[in-house]
Symmetry: C2
DNA sequence: ATTTTTAAAGCAATCGATTGCTTTTATTGT
DNA sequence: ACAATAAAAGCAATCGATTGCTTTAAAAAT
């Protein structure tokens, strides 16, 4: 597309026999421009269809009213909602968002970060990819003088602002609830343990068992049952054990819980009477399965808003005091039929 | 945050006793730099943790490897998937995405467009907000020499590239299917008629009726039943008519169809025996309701890919030949239990 | 009427990278 | 050994907006 030259402040200045600096000052409503010329400049700018070139402006000013967001996938409910929450605040402040997805790949995440630092964004908000191992790309952000806020899936060791769900607390509540409903052999579908969130959810599971004096049965803990398919597969194995579980906590996701429910239904096992099921995330569909699935709501939109506000409040990471840098969003246990054995 | 000065090509040049132009050429792998100095420059760049300033680069080069996307809401399945599709292609090409949401507000949409044109993005991809009335902000994009691609919800009158679902065809197929299943009094939940997509879906509904010699019954057409709640409300009214419908085509969304299903269940009306239900969009949950809901898949990820490819193929709108500028994605009718009366 | 003060406008450097053109250095051919 | 050619490096302008400083014009004070 042939890009006909766009009008600049010089074009306006020339037409009005003024200097570009006056035009700039007028358009920015700064001082030292008479009311008369100011109006004239605005009028002419409109006539010539002038649009500011943010590249030039930001280059000169040395900063950029733009925030970068890096998430594993934007078409995942939780992340889409967090972004929606962030956007609500940043929009009010006149900031732009550049949204990148890592597609759960660390290599791609590094590239996203590079792009954003090259753009001189003023802040990067990130939830790391599933194959997270190394945080040097994040350290680099801070070295570039860019604010960094981590959320949900974070690099624990790194001293940055963090906004987290209290995964451990929520998991503990969920498992406690199941125990109180009379379930005794509760299985855990766990996620990759290199991610903090899945470690915490497991910790909550273990804590609940311990609190109630229930011994951990290692064969009831299934690794990496993240998707609906993997959840289904794990469930098949669990239910075929000589001594199968009477409940399954799909700590990885509601999709996984859905897989559990499907297999149970297929095998003629009654939920919640013979098997309790609890998922994680409060995806829309959990409300309408039958039975409806007990799950944990992460208050994702709220989380996004909190993150953005944190930036605008100019909160600074408190070196050497990691806990002071963390904001915890309290998740909420949503109890539904799939774990309600005692009516 | 105190932003310590970042290294520039001048810093590298100074350290190596070279000129900045050589550094620039080396880093861009262009000609006229000896292999030895090229390596030296790369090594030093790494040492000094040099990151290119894209603002400066893009300003000088006069363009920007960035594409802007404006959608009503990113946390809606359809849009999130389209964006995911776009991103897949743009990432391969080394382009960035700036994603904005209009929140279904025209005023906000205008602001988004302004931001993007100020950033000199090379292309804007848009699906307009629900209160669409005026397309002057879109005309302005073309005047700025920026490529414009509309998708799904478009300004019909505007000569731009468009990527659309064939809503009319899909709706006609859906209603035809219902007629073939023996439904005779098919109601329509329609969306705001200022949006092309809802006009087309209605047209498809009308065409199917006509083809089968069924007269339109005006009282079976309900306006603005977009959400689950509104769908439920409309359904309540419909089912309380002296002569109620025996099927409902929720052309607005699957959420609306969900509302239909809930009310029907609540009123003890059997689906699909007494009432057929068809939604639109193939949201994840439609597969797992009971009965599962018949719906229309829009191939949203594919749509996103098509849009992005269109840009990179440098397709140009063909002035005065609107139809040549339109790519139609064929949606797919997904038949499930909610309309299967004849087993 | 003249000096002082203030407001308005202009000048020129700057942000960092790119690029057409010129100069210097190295290489090749005779 | 010297001219011809090619390769490598340097110079300086440019992209468009901003901003500290200076100059000019207008208003106020004496």
């Amino acid at each position: 597309m042939k890009s006909q030259k766009r009008t600049t402040i010089y074009d306006i200045a020339k037409k009005l026999n003024l200097n570009a600096s006056s035009v700039s000052r007028a358009l920015n409503n700064s001082s030292n421009v008479s009311e008369a010329t100011r109006e004239l400049i605005f009028k002419t700018a409109k006539e010539l269809n002038y649009k500011q070139n943010s590249l030039a402006s930001n280059l000169r000013k040395g900063h950029n009213q733009t925030i970068g967001v890096v998430v594993p996938r934007i078409n995942q409910n939780f992340f889409a909602n967090v972004i929606a929450g962030i956007e609500e605040i940043t929009y009010q402040k006149g900031y732009n968002l550049i949204i990148c997805q890592s597609n759960e790949s660390h290599a791609r995440e590094v590239k996203c970060i590079n792009t954003l630092t090259n753009q001189h964004v003023s802040c990067i908000i990130i939830s790391v990819s599933a194959d997270f191992e190394d945080d040097s790309h994040l350290k680099n952000i801070k070295e570039q003088g860019i604010q960094l806020i981590q959320f949900d899936r974070v690099a624990d060791q790194l001293d940055t602002l963090k906004v987290l769900n209290d995964n451990e607390q929520a998991s503990m509540e969920a498992v406690t609830h199941m125990i109180e409903q009379g379930y005794q052999r509760i299985a855990l579908l766990e996620g990759p343990q290199n991610l903090n969130i899945f470690r915490q959810r497991k910790a909550g599971y273990l804590a609940a068992l311990k609190k109630h004096g229930i011994a951990l049965i290692p064969e009831l803990v299934m690794e990496n049952a993240w998707t609906k398919e993997l959840g289904a597969e794990a469930t098949r194995k669990l239910l075929n054990l000589p001594n199968p579980p009477d409940a399954i906590f799909a700590s990885t996701s509601d999709f996984s819980a859905l897989g559990v429910l499907e297999i149970a239904t297929k095998m003629g096992i009654r939920v919640p009477e013979d098997l309790g099921i609890c998922g994680y995330s409060n995806e829309a569909f959990t409300e309408i399965t039958s039975p409806a699935i007990t799950t944990i709501d992460q208050h994702s939109v709220q989380m996004g808003k909190t993150i953005a506000k944190l930036y605008f409040d100019e909160a600074q990471p408190n070196e050497g005091n990691p806990s002071a840098n963390t904001v915890n969003i309290q998740p909420e246990l949503i109890i539904r039929e799939s774990t309600l054995r005692k009516k």
